[in-house]
Symmetry: C2
């Protein structure tokens, strides 16, 4: 068996503080979206300006299809939104959370390297 010693008190305390499984899963799902280089690059590309799909594809040197698939994931998570102008569809960040979440990650990386 793996454990013998007792920690029921500790477990009860921590269990009480732990959010619901559903919330923790949602949180993991959110970060899962940030955990892909292509999606990070797409989001970063939209930091300053809206861009159309083919511009993002050209910028990142990837196919239109690949970018489109990733944009769908970002859109389903409400991280980006789009508008149509004729044949072209322009994507932009849907709110400032993307910026602050990415900024927070950078901070950790920077302090890591010191």
């Amino acid at each position: 068996m793996a454990h013998d010693h007792d920690h029921k008190e500790l477990l009860d305390k921590v269990r009480f503080e732990l959010p619901t499984d559903e919330l923790l899963c949602d949180l993991a799902d959110l970060y899962k979206i940030f955990g892909d280089t292509t999606r990070i690059k797409i989001m970063y590309s939209l930091f300053e300006e809206e861009m159309c799909v083919c511009a993002i594809a050209e910028l990142l040197g990837m196919t239109q299809s690949a970018i489109s698939h990733q944009l769908k994931i970002l859109k389903d998570a409400n991280l980006v939104a789009n508008r149509r102008d004729g044949k072209t569809i322009y994507y932009h960040l849907s709110d400032d959370h993307v910026r602050s979440i990415i900024a927070q990650g950078f901070e950790h990386l920077v302090e890591e390297q010191e």
Copy 2:
């Protein structure tokens, strides 16, 4: 062909603002670690107190081996650290970044549901 219209100026501008590939990959790798329910639960469990491996396993209802594998990933990323006390090894968060990164995610989720 996918694109016909011109956006060289935009691409040059955005390309200039984009961080290096290496940095963007590091960022994605960091978030990848947060993008797993088990690891999120482990980190959350360590919010208030240090815990030994078997306590975490019992808390989450998972095997000691599974938890140990995930703790290694967290430790390699400098997100948790440990200390030995006899046969037992206690893990704790290595700094406050974990807390603030998770808090940031929560904020996004909460505003999402409004």
